[in-house]
């Protein structure tokens, strides 16, 4: 009975947060003015709704990316910002801006996704080459790799005077999201549907190559499909809002602790959890220093880092599991 009610309750809570997000912000918009003031309604549709939709879609993108990567890499601590994937997408966007400054957003998106994909494949082959299995070392290597790529990107950008184009520099803020900028994020909705369709395969891939092959999966194909989905999600998110650190790490881990790792039945929980966390971070960022704003990613980075550390410490406390 309780189990049956859990999901509807969670949906209600998240809906509440979404409404709170819609009703928070600079202009005076509330239920009353929405009903009587056409100007308020216009502002609402141009800025508030796109901002909240971007929040939801970006959160879903990162949560889903974390789920996929953690299963495919068989490591609890990987997600786009701990594997260098996000940094590669930023490098892609920057290089495209250098070559073709006026490229349409869809081309940018594709370019970011291709770079993110290449970056993840490089990361995985590096892990394979170093025969790295340790749960804790893997993300450290990923973060270092990301730092190197990020430094190269920053160097190129500053020498070409293009710092403002960098997703990292924009650092996951939603304040500039208005109608006309967030729409590419709808691709995330498609990704969630695709993930639902291939969820069992992703879970089986999480049991390791040999089990997957024994069960008749084409392991390589599912690996590349998963990485491509992560790359697309990461690429589009970093173009529209910038990096959202740790979200893809924290949410799937919490979900897994409570519900295990069955990707199909976890999917709604991962999405809801991601939206809840990001909305709360965004609300905090918008209210504590109002009328100024702290980007949601900064709050997320702080909250996420603390949870990340406690997850790692939990592993150390359980002893041998660190090396498993």
């Amino acid at each position: 009975m309780l189990r049956r009610l859990a999901l509807p309750c969670a949906v209600l809570v998240v809906l509440g947060l979404v409404v709170a997000s819609l009703l928070t912000g600079g202009y005076d918009i509330d239920l009353h003015s929405l009903l009587h003031d056409p100007e308020a309604r216009r502002m609402f549709l141009i800025s508030r709704v796109p901002r909240t939709l971007a929040l939801i879609l970006a959160a879903a993108a990162m949560a889903v990316s974390g789920v996929i990567m953690q299963m495919l890499v068989q490591n609890r601590f990987v997600e786009p910002t701990t594997t260098g994937t996000a940094e590669w997408s930023a490098l892609g966007v920057l290089l495209l801006t250098l070559v073709a400054p006026g490229a349409p957003v869809l081309v940018k998106m594709a370019c970011a996704a291709v770079f993110a994909f290449v970056g993840s494949v490089l990361f995985l082959s590096l892990l394979g080459r170093l025969a790295l299995r340790s749960q804790v070392i893997v993300p450290i290597v990923g973060i270092m790799l990301g730092a190197v790529v990020g430094a190269v990107t920053t160097y190129i950008a500053s020498s070409a005077n293009l710092m403002q184009t960098l997703p990292a520099w924009r650092s996951g803020g939603f304040s500039s999201v208005v109608k006309g900028t967030y729409e590419p994020l709808w691709v995330v909705g498609v990704l969630v549907v695709v993930l639902y369709a291939v969820a069992d395969r992703i879970t089986i891939a999480g049991l390791g190559r040999d089990m997957a092959v024994s069960l008749g999966l084409s392991y390589r194909r599912i690996l590349y499909l998963g990485l491509a989905m992560v790359a697309l999600a990461t690429g589009v998110t970093s173009i529209v809002v910038g990096f959202l650190p740790f979200l893809g790490l924290v949410v799937p881990n919490l979900v897994s602790m409570v519900r295990g790792d069955d990707v199909r039945s976890n999917l709604p929980w991962a999405v809801l959890g991601g939206v809840a966390l990001l909305t709360v971070c965004d609300l905090i960022g918008r209210t504590v220093v109002a009328p100024l704003e702290i980007p949601a990613s900064v709050i997320l980075g702080a909250v996420g880092a603390v949870i990340f550390l406690s997850l790692i410490l939990r592993r150390f406390a359980r002893g041998g599991a660190v090396h498993a």
């Binding site: 299963m71 068989q74 490591n75 069992d200 049991l207 040999d210 092959v213 024994s214 084409s218």
Partner: protein, 252 residues
């Protein structure tokens, strides 16, 4: 029938298996025995298409296992490796249900649930079905893996040391299950087993490996020879008759 021809597996310039050739007849239990490092697991993973041979072919009922689409192969042959680790948290029931994936592609039918329940029952896992694998003992986990293979319900099942970590009761029970799968359902089971007496007691056929070569191949009665066993294992082994059955003894 599984037929393997001139199988060789090398790592770099070190050849760990072969060339070996042979066949495993349809129906019945075949056990692979031999000392550590003999190449038993290597041979099994080549037969089960988990690793590609450096050279040679494996034919399952006439089709090359390494060239047949994996999804089709998974309905005919299941393989369990010696060591299985993963970080994913799944329950025993979820794991066993994945054994049905080759047949149902994730949409479990009533028939799938029957297979799952039967496999859980065979391995005495009914009470543990809701537990996560990381909450089980080594032997309980091993039984869960074998249950998954049984749920896969393929004509051929290759199991690398399925008795690992099992107590006497569950070891005997598992061998009885495999025996009845072979006798009643005409399944073909290939096992790697370290206990020679278990191998002799339950198999129809035994293949002995040593240093990457097949050194003996025959019925349990033929293999239960003190000189042969002593040579294979490099350890003095005597064979006594107990209740009309040969029993290998290798301790004082």
């Amino acid at each position: 029938m599984i037929e393997f021809r001139d199988l060789v597996k090398s790592y770099g310039d070190r050849t760990v298996l072969g060339p070996v050739s042979g066949r495993i007849e349809e129906g019945g239990i075949t056990s692979l025995i031999g000392p550590n490092g003999a190449g038993k697991s290597t041979l099994l993973t080549l037969l089960g298409r988990l690793a590609a041979p450096t050279s040679g072919t494996v034919l399952l009922d006439g089709t090359d296992v390494h060239r047949t689409p994996s999804a089709e192969m998974a309905r005919r042959l299941a393989i369990l490796r010696q060591d299985n680790h993963f970080t994913a948290r799944v329950t025993v029931r979820e794991l066993v249900a994945f054994g049905r994936f080759p047949h149902s592609r994730g949409r479990l039918t009533a028939e799938d649930h029957e297979h799952i329940d039967r496999a859980l029952g065979f391995l005495d896992l009914g009470d543990l079905a809701g537990r996560y694998l990381d909450q089980l003992s080594g032997g309980q986990r091993q039984r869960a893996y074998v249950a998954m293979v049984l749920a896969q319900d393929t004509r051929y099942a290759l199991l690398d040391e399925p008795l690992n970590n099992l107590d006497i009761k569950h070891a005997v029970r598992m061998m009885e299950q495999l025996r009845s799968a072979a006798d009643e359902l005409n399944k073909t089971v290939v096992l790697v087993v370290h206990d020679i007496n278990i191998a002799a007691g339950y198999s129809d056929h035994i293949i002995a490996l040593r240093d990457g070569a097949i050194v003996a191949n025959g019925t349990p009665a033929e293999l239960m020879d003190p000189d042969l066993l002593t040579r294979i294992f490099d350890t003095p082994v005597q064979v006594h008759e107990v209740d009309g059955r040969p029993l290998a003894v290798h301790h004082r």
